[in-house]
């Protein structure tokens, strides 16, 4: 063989070895990613759950299978977040006086029709249908599929940003863009300020990272709410208290349960029929 060809061959092998070693090194995730991903994966894949000993008996457990159930999360230092576990949410204007039931799942104090728009989860993606409004500035006729970062407009004044922050979950988040958005309510509450809406699929993440559905920038750890057996469970990485009792790892949430941990606290409340 000519020395030239040999030289070329050796060269390519050397470069290949270098590439392999670089690739191996780059596949290591950062520790935080590892932790949150393993937490999430254990939530998704684990077969048996460890039951908590101090399961609270005071509050009725939140059942997610009943239609029209909405869960409010009152989170200290963060805000009031609405969790919609259903497959679809209908937005509408305020309830007309004289009607006993609202015609929409979420009533916004804005100039909207009674049933103005609907967002529906279909597998991994979301379908949006509105009577009057646009997506990213362009009018929508009929239905459209939403993608991460879309700006949804309902009527003249209401704007929401649609996001799917976590790659591991199909849950979506609707938030006001920069300005505030109208007060809203579900069922027959009084209208209140809501800081965001989570359309929960299997999982809702609360925490400091960019993949959290409910951003809590000052928290040191991430808390996971997940659906299991049509109940809402909470899972924390560190120690936490559930209604003043110590909680290990995971526990179902009841209506009115207060969960608190190292530097955070929130309360879950059911609103619905």
């Amino acid at each position: 063989m000519r020395p030239v060809v040999l030289f070329l061959w050796v060269q390519s092998v050397g470069v290949q070895a270098l590439a392999c070693s670089l690739k191996a090194e780059l596949q290591h995730s950062t520790p935080q990613n590892l932790v949150s991903r393993s937490c999430l994966s254990s939530v998704m894949l684990e077969g048996r759950w460890r039951r908590t000993m101090n399961h609270t008996l005071h509050n009725r457990e939140i059942a997610l299978d009943q239609p029209g159930t909405t869960v409010l999360l009152w989170i200290d230092g963060v805000g009031c977040w609405m969790l919609c576990p259903g497959e679809s949410v209908i937005f509408g204007g305020p309830v007309e006086p004289g009607s006993s039931r609202p015609s929409a799942d979420l009533c916004l104090m804005a100039n909207l029709r009674r049933q103005h728009a609907r967002i529906e989860r279909m597998g991994e993606s979301y379908r949006w249908k509105t009577v009057e409004g646009d997506v990213n500035g362009r009018t929508v006729r009929g239905e459209t599929f939403l993608s991460d970062g879309d700006l949804l407009t309902l009527g003249p004044n209401v704007q929401m940003r649609f996001r799917q922050p976590s790659v591991l979950s199909a849950s979506a988040v609707l938030r006001p863009d920069n300005r505030t958005w109208p007060r809203m309510f579900a069922a027959m509450q009084t209208p209140g300020s809501v800081d965001g809406i989570v359309l929960m699929d299997e999982v809702c993440l609360l925490g400091p990272g960019a993949d959290a559905h409910v951003p809590c920038p000052d928290w040191a750890e991430q808390v996971i709410l997940h659906r299991r057996d049509e109940k809402l469970w909470v899972r924390t990485p560190g120690r936490a208290q559930l209604d003043s009792r110590a909680m290990t790892d995971a526990s179902p949430l009841g209506d009115g349960t207060v969960v608190s941990g190292d530097g955070w606290r929130f309360r879950a409340e059911v609103v619905g029929d």
Binding site: R179, P191, S193, R267
Partner: protein, 734 residues
């Protein structure tokens, strides 16, 4: 008191009251909002469902109560309304006030890293000035103005914490002389204990400074240090726009008598400075405003003035159009120079045309270089202003892309029809001639442009950026306040998915990603080129035929393949290095040209080492279609030949070919991860065409040139990382 039961080993809960607590009759606490200097604030609902904010006063309750009582019946659209003051069962006082759902000015300032847009600053200022002005009219000093206390709800600015306001008493000396609030915004005389409503003017001045630049004027490690600076150090006004400096300077005067007497005056002066109208506010302000260097022309609308204001500060930031596309005027200008050269050379035959062609090329290169250097010489400025004032680049409106090629090609056609290859003396005629033409033309146009109005300066973005030295966020102060001060910003990464991302998309890639992708591609290149070389050998066995004629010449194969590999490595490396960066095409091509020169050197080195000729004797030098075969346009550059005897290209020949080929073609599009298709035959064919053109102008074996071009182009495309459109995402800093 609602505290959690004992038995906890970890950190105490931040807030005293738990959700659903009812310390006051008729109110239910739902969640905590924050903990401030005076106590904790909670979000609560009345029994009927009315939203309120409940503020628990824990320390110094007497001081606040006195202050709050006077504010109980104040009502103004820009003030957070106080509904009531109540006492709970344990004797603690609660302020019941309006709940404002919206972001604080604090959050808004941190959202805009380098300062807010001027329109937004003016909106905030208007609301704050109206609210504080109303308070002053009632005889109340706020005393605790800071961005954490100012909210914006649906576009309406609301000032909170009005409970801290102090009555202006005639004695002006208060018994309680505690420092309150965050010291960044505290006027110097507050520390001395004597103050009136000018302290609010000072605080507003500090807030304006922070809104515009993103940082407070006085920072420090401790309260004492900051207070010292408030007392003695002059604020650095340099990051502010020049027109606003006198306004902020006056607002931040240490002596209260020298400041604006009221926030309304500050507001008016600020507006006057921003809009450029010299309103009859203040002698001091007016005088200083006209002292700033005049930049505009009379008769401009106020809107223009605002953007001009920002323009005067940012001289460096200009919009860079693609420098390879001359504007229409510039193109005419260049062709005109060529025509002039033709006429003035006095020889209408072949030599004259050649001179004109070369002159045109040099003018084009000179023009491009001048634009690149941003006109450092005085006489070129009016020239460029003239030619660029018609700011439509050729082909920009969806016409033919890169249509500067067309006139160049037309000239090439003419020239090659008439010209012969005797170029020995062009260096003596054309180079000085064309430079002289350009200089003459520039001087002429400098004279002409003196009689024209200056063209519109390029509009920068509305957002004005301060010089980068002032970008550091303020440091947190721990001992002063329980209120959460901003930590060093944790930038959140949001991933933006879009199938429509193109190679032009700007994205940030860490160095390791680039390196790993490059290593991947580089290793793939070798087998691909081996494959392609093998197929060339199969398709045309005489291609690599050695001189001896017996069997394939391994030296030829090695030479071809190794040059192709090195060329691909260089191209992929350059593309990967610059992928996603904001570079214009001209810079990239320049880098590629340098890479090509290096490849040419390497190729020459290899060919000399292996002592081979990449072609059988000279009849492989195909000339252009219209001239005799064996007759490329340039066989030498000046006195140096492009090929030596035996038909081998000289060093210069290699360098010229690779340098020009790399410098002309848009190679980075071949290698970008976001290109539209992994492999495009059209790209390969275009590269081949270009290689043929280059080799017919500057002598180089054409067949080898075209084959090299095909192989390199294919290898680069096949080996480079390609992301299918569904998986394309770029990380956006939030």
């Amino acid at each position: 008191m609602g505290m959690l039961t004992s038995g906890r080993e970890w950190e105490t809960m931040k807030f005293t009251f738990a959700p659903e607590s009812r310390p006051l009759e008729g109110y239910t606490i739902k969640r905590a909002i924050y903990r401030g200097g005076f106590g904790e604030v909670y979000y609560a609902l009345t029994d009927a469902g009315r939203e309120v904010a409940l503020k628990l006063l824990q320390n110094n309750a007497e001081v606040e109560l006195r202050g709050v009582q006077q504010c109980l019946n104040l009502s103004h659209p820009n003030l957070v309304t106080i509904f009531d003051v109540k006492q709970d069962r344990d004797g603690d006082h609660w302020i019941v006030m309006e709940y404002v759902a919206g972001e604080t000015l604090d959050a808004a300032v941190h959202r805009h890293a380098g300062g807010m847009p001027m329109e937004e600053v003016r909106n905030w200022l208007r609301g704050i000035a109206d609210g504080v002005g109303f308070l002053h009219d009632q005889g109340i000093v706020h005393r605790d103005l800071k961005p954490g206390n100012v909210f914006s709800e649906a576009g309406v600015v609301k000032i909170g914490d009005v409970g801290l306001s102090k009555f202006i008493t005639p004695s002006r000396r208060s018994a309680q002389t505690q420092s309150v609030g965050t010291v960044y915004y505290m006027a110097p005389e507050v520390a001395k204990g004597r103050y009136g409503r000018e302290v609010d003017v000072y605080s507003l001045g500090v807030m304006l400074y922070e809104m515009i630049t993103g940082c407070v004027p006085f920072e420090g490690e401790s309260t004492g240090e900051i207070l010292m600076k408030h007392l003695s150090e002059k604020p650095d006004l340099e990051p502010l726009p020049p027109r606003l400096r006198p306004v902020i300077d006056r607002a931040l005067q240490k002596d209260p008598a020298k400041r604006f007497a009221s926030v309304t005056e500050l507001h008016q002066a600020f507006e006057a400075a921003v809009l450029g109208k010299s309103s009859s506010v203040d002698e001091h302000v007016r005088v200083v405003v006209t002292a700033t260097p005049p930049t505009d022309q009379p008769g401009r609308a106020p809107v223009d003035r605002v953007s001009e204001l920002e323009q005067t500060v940012v001289d460096q930031a200009t919009v860079a159009p693609s420098i390879w596309r001359p504007t229409r005027r510039a193109l005419l200008f260049i062709l005109g120079i060529g025509l002039l050269a033709l006429v003035m050379s006095g020889e209408p035959g072949e030599d004259g045309v050649l001179v004109a062609w070369v002159t045109t090329c040099f003018s084009y290169i000179g023009y491009t270089l001048l634009r690149r250097m941003k006109s450092t010489w005085a006489f070129t400025r009016p020239v460029l202003a003239f030619v660029d004032s018609d700011s439509q680049p050729v082909g920009a409106q969806g016409g033919l892309r890169g249509s500067w090629v067309i006139p160049a090609a037309a000239w090439a056609f003419l020239v090659t029809t008439f010209a012969r290859a005797d170029m020995a003396d062009f260096s003596e005629v054309a180079i000085p001639g064309s430079i002289g033409m350009f200089v003459l033309g520039a001087i002429l146009h400098a004279i002409c442009s003196a009689f024209r109005t200056a063209p519109q300066p390029a509009r920068t973005a509305d957002h004005w950026t301060p010089p980068p030295a002032r970008q550091s966020p303020p440091r947190p102060i721990r001992p002063v306040n329980h209120q959460r001060r901003h930590q060093p910003r944790r930038t959140a990464r949001h991933y933006y998915r879009n199938r429509k991302l193109t190679p032009g998309a700007f994205r940030a890639m860490p160095f390791r990603t680039r390196l790993s992708q490059y290593a991947n591609s580089a290793t793939l290149v070798v087998p691909i080129i081996a494959l392609l070389t093998g197929s060339v050998e199969l398709l045309s066995p005489q291609f690599f035929a050695s001189v001896s004629g017996a069997g394939p010449g391994w030296e030829n194969i090695a030479m071809f393949a190794s040059t192709a590999v090195i060329a691909s490595w260089v191209l992929i490396g350059l593309s990967k290095w610059n992928e996603g960066r904001r570079l214009d095409g001209g810079t990239r091509r320049l880098l590629q040209m340098v890479g090509g020169v290096a490849v040419g050197l390497a190729a020459y080195g290899i060919s000399e080492t292996l002592l081979i000729a990449p072609a059988p004797p000279a009849d492989v030098y195909a000339g252009t279609l219209w001239s005799q075969p064996g007759d490329p346009m340039f066989v030498s550059v000046g006195a140096r030949p492009l090929f030596v005897e035996g038909g081998r290209p000289s060093l210069l020949g290699y360098v010229a070919f690779f340098g020009i080929l790399f410098g002309l073609r848009r190679w980075w599009w071949h290698a970008d991860a976001f290109r539209s298709k992994r492999f495009r035959i059209g790209s390969v064919l275009l590269t081949v065409l270009l290689a043929w053109l280059v080799s017919s102008i500057w002598a180089f074996p054409s067949v080898w040139a075209m084959t090299w071009a095909a192989v390199i182009s294919s290898a680069v495309q096949l080996a480079s990382v390609w992301t299918p459109p569904e998986e394309r995402f770029i990380a956006k800093e939030v």
